[in-house]
């Protein structure tokens, strides 16, 4: 019985499962439509809440039509709705009517990372003094490994995702948006500081450096990798950024090479 009911809820065309009755003999299909509407509108609303910039970029009508196709094809697999929307950027990427906006899927990826960061585990950031002590010890520094905040993520895109996202936080989104060239590649750093999720635009050096830290590279290895990616890499400025973002939650120093 649940199977018929569930299938009709998410069917492409309005449908009504068998076995339903009404006290006054009215067509149960009109009553069943309330459930269908609740389910689809509720899930579309959930996506609209999580992907507001994606919605602004294509307009509400387009976004909701696209979201409706996604929710019918990929309903949530968990009652924990806060994180619903995994897979939505990939859906957007292959949604033919959206191909005219090649950056849309990556903006959605950034918004998904932002939602995930919002709900990620709590961890206290280390203090500036802890890093100052480390930096003052040139023997230990190259071997130091950083633990990064559970909310931290990186997203490299061929499009100007951070600028597009930031333009929609401005008071006049249209004016801010006009100044953005979407075809410029950008890498985003997403990290929650306290209760607020911040998004930063990274140059190639810091992006390579943080990506290596994420893979548990030592400070020395990460610096070498960052210079390989970008000769202009500035280690102190990047450390300062990570401190300001509350991105480092621990330092471990081991002189022996660890596997």
């Amino acid at each position: 019985m649940n199977a018929d009911f569930a299938a009709a809820l998410l069917a492409a065309a309005p449908a009504c499962p068998p076995g339903l009755v009404s006290w006054n003999g009215s067509d149960p299909a009109a009553r069943f439509a309330v459930y269908r509407n609740n389910v689809i509108v509720g899930l579309v609303d959930a996506l609209a809440d999580s992907f507001p910039v994606s919605q602004a970029l294509v307009g509400e009508e387009f976004f909701r039509a696209m979201a409706r196709e996604f929710v019918c094809a990929s309903p949530p697999c968990s009652p924990v709705m806060a994180l619903y929307g995994e897979g939505y950027p990939e859906f957007i990427e292959t949604f033919p009517p959206a191909t005219g906006l090649p950056y849309l899927a990556d903006v959605a990826r950034l918004e998904l990372l932002r939602v995930q960061a919002w709900h990620a585990a709590d961890a206290d950031a280390i203090k500036e003094a802890d890093v100052a002590t480390l930096v003052a010890d040139p023997e230990s520094l190259p071997e130091a490994r950083f633990t990064l905040h559970p909310s931290l993520s990186l997203l490299a895109s061929r499009h100007a995702i951070v600028s597009l996202w930031a333009a929609h936080q401005a008071e006049s989104a249209a004016t801010a948006l006009a100044a953005v060239d979407p075809a410029l590649a950008e890498t985003a750093l997403v990290c929650r500081k306290g209760l607020e999720v911040e998004i930063y635009r990274l140059a190639a050096g810091p992006a390579a450096f943080i990506a290596l830290l994420q893979q548990a590279a030592s400070f020395g290895e990460a610096v070498a990798g960052a210079f390989a990616a970008d000769a202009q890499f500035d280690p102190p400025a990047t450390l300062a950024l990570l401190l300001r973002a509350g991105a480092i939650t621990g330092i471990t120093i081991s002189r022996s090479a660890e596997s």
């Binding site: 019985m1 649940n2 199977a3 009911f5 569930a6 809820l9 998410l10 076995g19 339903l20 009755v21 009404s22 006290w23 006054n24 003999g25 009215s26 067509d27 149960p28 299909a29 009109a30 009553r31 069943f32 309330v34 459930y35 609740n38 389910v39 509720g42 899930l43 959930a46 309903p75 949530p76 697999c77 968990s78 009652p79 924990v80 709705m81 806060a82 994180l83 919002w118 709900h119 990620a120 585990a121 709590d122 961890a123 559970p150 909310s151 929650r192 209760l195």
Partner: protein, 298 residues
């Protein structure tokens, strides 16, 4: 392992919610509640919204819970589902209840998951023997695993099933008798379902196991119509409590006594003072409950 210990260990008697009015806790109001400390009986949260690792939801709920009694209200356990209960979800509930030690835990007579999909709505069940047996098994399992009594909420529904052999009140009465669970009497759901199915709401309330009522919900509905033009009420939680529901609430209070009462609002969330005013209205009605009715449930 620690999760299993919660279910297996000695069960402390949870304190109960005060016989006052509460409101649903919404993120829009987190800071204002901490800043203004409104005089309120309790807050209620949806369990699933807090099944995340960290961040602002836990930050604020922790602080608000330190100051107020708390009700945790599940919307995703799918107690009426055909399949077995989702063990991972039960585990998440156990962790949440251990963390916040709410005075009350409630869920719905409904299903919401099927075949690995979560449908994000409270869907109706037929009132027949097979469903009764399954719902009772699920509630037994929930109460055993969580080590506490739960309250079961009567549903708002838009359709009925040809397969039903019991009335809704008979079905709920039998669930309460067999499992020992309590009843969360949602007066708005009573009104909505009784209009939608041509039932007498007062007679329906009279047929429920009123001794088991542990909490009352009040909310607003939207008005639609069915294929014949008859009114079809939608349990929208997007408007103030309607006058008809306040009247039905007064009728229920006369029979069950002063019971903790929640103002539910999940859509078109108004400023906090608007919800507090509705809670005060409920509280004035609670204060007028005759002493003999109160003593009947004491």
């Amino acid at each position: 392992m620690t999760v299993h210990a919660i279910g297996a260990g000695p069960v402390p008697q949870p304190r109960s919610l005060p016989a006052r009015a509460g409101i649903g806790l919404k993120p829009e109001h987190f800071r204002e509640i901490l800043d203004t400390a409104p005089d309120l009986g309790f807050f209620e949260v949806h369990a699933e919204n807090y099944m995340v690792d960290g961040g602002s939801f836990h930050h604020y709920l922790t602080r608000i819970r330190e100051r107020y009694p708390l009700s945790i209200h599940g919307v995703g356990l799918s107690i009426g589902g055909e399949g077995p209960l989702d063990q991972a979800h039960l585990d998440r509930l156990a962790v949440l209840l251990a963390r916040y030690e709410p005075e009350s835990f409630s869920e719905h007579l409904a299903w919401s998951s099927h075949g690995g999909s979560f449908l994000n709505d409270l869907l109706p069940v037929p009132y027949d023997a097979a469903t009764l047996a399954r719902v009772c098994d699920h509630i037994d399992r929930v109460q055993e695993y969580l080590g506490r009594r739960m309250l079961l909420e009567n549903p708002a529904t838009y359709v009925e099933f040809a397969a039903s052999t019991l009335s809704e009140a008979e079905f709920i009465g039998e669930v309460v008798r067999r499992t020992g669970c309590g009843l969360l009497l949602d007066v708005n759901n009573v009104h909505v379902s009784c209009i939608n199915h041509g039932r007498d709401a007062r007679r329906f309330i009279g047929a429920l196991p009123l001794d088991a009522v542990g909490q009352i919900h009040l909310a607003g509905f939207a008005v639609d119509c069915d294929a014949t033009g008859a009114p079809l009420l939608i349990d929208s939680h997007g408007t103030p409590v309607a006058e008809a529901v306040w009247q039905l609430y007064a009728f229920a209070l006369d029979r069950v006594g002063a019971i903790p009462t929640l103002i539910e609002r999940d859509n078109d969330i108004p400023p906090l003072p608007v919800l507090l005013a509705e809670a005060r209205h409920a509280e004035r009605m609670l204060e007028r409950v005759p002493a003999e009715a109160e003593s009947a449930v004491a």
